[in-house]
Symmetry: C2
Subunit: 358 residues, 2 copies
């Protein structure tokens, strides 16, 4: 039987509640599929700041690096919002992404039929939306140097950042995206701002060059402003999308809101080798933390992505995804996705129902 | 009677058709309100490239600078899409914005009741949306230096741009935005990415400082990724929004698509002094150019913004806006906003109907 070590990072807010559900699901699915997991729980974000003074302790990073995959709840909260940048929970997240080299962030935006009415978009527009958005995660303006504050020639304060991409950074995310598109409908839309930004011009040039190696994938290009419109006008036109770090941050959140239920959406961040990082796309929701109200579906689906993309355990991944659909079909809902006629339950009970569906 | 010189830039694609309608409307409203206009028509974008080899000829720029206001149709088209950057139609647009110093771009996203079903959002979500988005237009990553291409220490090609804001650039757009918010509902939402970008941290710091001078305005801050979600989830939560150049490019297009009818939306770009630049937010639509199918409403409404913000002629502006609503109420529509039970007309005839409503 296969055996894997998994780093669990519950994080802040609702993180511990949803990670606990996902862990139980992994254990059960593992026992059914002959997979053994060894879990190690470590601190990151606000929890780490409180305990150790830094958002990403060395112990956490080395545990993560030595494991086969990392499952993260969520980080952040009001308590640390006013911290200086290097002492923000989010900084821990950016650091672990960079340290693990997880340059490719997979963000599916899937509308589950029983939840289609959760979308603010008309039923006929939202129904059947199934987008895989791939965001470059370790480059661009998030990490570009020079950055900081300074004084200009008039003695005024300035703040600046650098949007920068090197060929190898673009090439690796391009290859990754083309391969994902190959396994889906064979359509890849690359989003940039090549009519204005040089960094985008190089991006587009490299995508055009690499497209030669994937004649079975139909590559298109779209400006980011247009993409932000098209996601609302007709989201079903998109299959696989790929874009840079900052545009991906904005568009993936937009795409997830198109589905209306961000409590359902997982993500996977992968590198060339080494452990991947898997986390729900929603935040730590400090306002409902500890009240057994959190929706654990997105984290459970992140565990499915962990099995598929992190460990290559497709059958086990599928088993989790089927269990989620079955639980939805049996009518169980947390408050964020509740509608009349369905059964409102807490995070814990939903977890138990998912286990029954596994 | 007041007398103004107006620079008309029809531009490319449908530009000439829609500018011609807007000009007729200005002339009629002027005659009713005792305002004289002197028009000068000049070239920009693709039309200028074909005639002079550059996207913004000196003659055009000096005509614009010497006039009281500039009304622009649209620029761009397939024909020039593969041009090098300095020979793109869009470059002419960026140049004239910079040369006129129009740092504040006003982008209303208004849902007209008769057109609420044009939105892909549910009626109850879209109805009553009335957002004024203010985009910083002459700074940030669009113009920041250094920018360009180069080689890194590994001999790889790189592409880079600089997101940079100086205090005075932030302060002037902040004052502008607070004043607009004062005249609206007194709520201002500033959008940034201050959890990651230093340029955004300075932005937020300055907005907080300047807020002291506007105690009657309620300032809030939102991260750009969250804003892109909230615009879909509940657009009515927003009244006045303000953000930087690139985030404004993305969010203003998203906000306009929330209304479902971008053929209705005007914009105004204003500086500290000198002529403003007024243009519809839609593009040059080369696929329907010359076919009398274009929707002139957005350009006519841009002429209304020209009267209000460019010339201070509030009464004349209101007269145009009322005429647009009246024409809609009388059921006249171009193809892009047509629905069963309304009267489909071409660009010219719609223009005549607007004149009747003036
Ligand atoms: C918390 C923040 C730094 C982060 C990002 O911008 O990448 C988040 O928005 C995300 O998308 O995972
Ligand atoms: C054409 C392009 C350069 C321009 C921009 O990005 O500013 C356009 O998208 C706009 O929003 O007016």
């Amino acid at each position: 039987p296969s055996s894997y070590s998994i780093t669990l990072i519950p994080g802040d807010g609702i993180g511990p509640e949803i990670i606990s559900v996902a862990k139980d699901v992994l254990v059960l699915v593992g026992s059914l599929e002959g997979i053994k997991f060894e879990f190690q729980e470590v601190l990151m974000g606000g929890a780490a700041l409180d305990a150790t003074g830094v958002p990403l302790p060395d112990d956490t990073l080395s545990a993560a690096k030595q494991s086969h995959a990392v499952l993260l709840g969520a980080v952040g909260g009001y308590k640390w919002d006013k911290n200086e940048k290097h002492l923000k929970p989010e900084t821990g997240l950016l650091q672990i992404r960079k340290e693990l080299g997880v340059f490719a962030n997979l963000r599916p935006a899937t509308v589950y039929s029983p939840l289609v009415d959760a979308s603010t978009l008309k039923r006929e527009v939202a129904e059947g939306v199934d987008i895989m958005l791939i965001r470059e995660l370790t480059g661009g303006i998030y990490f570009g140097e020079p950055r900081g504050f300074g004084t200009n020639e008039n003695g005024e304060e300035i703040g600046f950042n650098t949007e920068i991409y090197a060929t190898h950074e673009i090439d690796r995310i391009a290859h990754f995206a083309f391969k994902v598109a190959q396994k889906r409908c064979g359509k890849l839309c690359s989003v940039d701002k090549a009519n204005v930004l040089e960094a985008s011009m190089l991006w587009r040039k490299r995508f055009l060059a690499i497209a030669q190696e994937y004649p079975d994938v139909e590559l298109s290009h779209m400006y980011v402003d247009n993409a932000s419109m098209q996601l609302i006008r007709d989201p079903k036109q998109f299959d696989t999308m790929v874009t840079n770090n900052i545009f991906g941050d904005i568009l993936s959140d937009e795409a997830s809101m198109v589905t209306g239920s961000i409590g359902m959406l997982p993500s996977a961040s992968l590198g060339a080798s080494g452990p991947g990082l898997f986390e729900p796309i929603h935040g730590s929701a400090p306002d409902i933390a500890g009240q057994d109200k959190a929706n654990p579906f997105a984290t459970v689906l992140s565990a499915a992505m962990l099995l598929r993309y992190g460990l290559g355990e497709e059958k086990a991944a599928k088993r989790i995804e089927n269990a989620v659909v079955d639980t939805l079909n049996r009518g169980f809902r947390t408050g964020d996705i509740y509608s009349a006629g369905t059964k409102l339950v807490g995070c814990k009970q939903l977890g138990e129902e998912i286990l029954k569906s596994v």
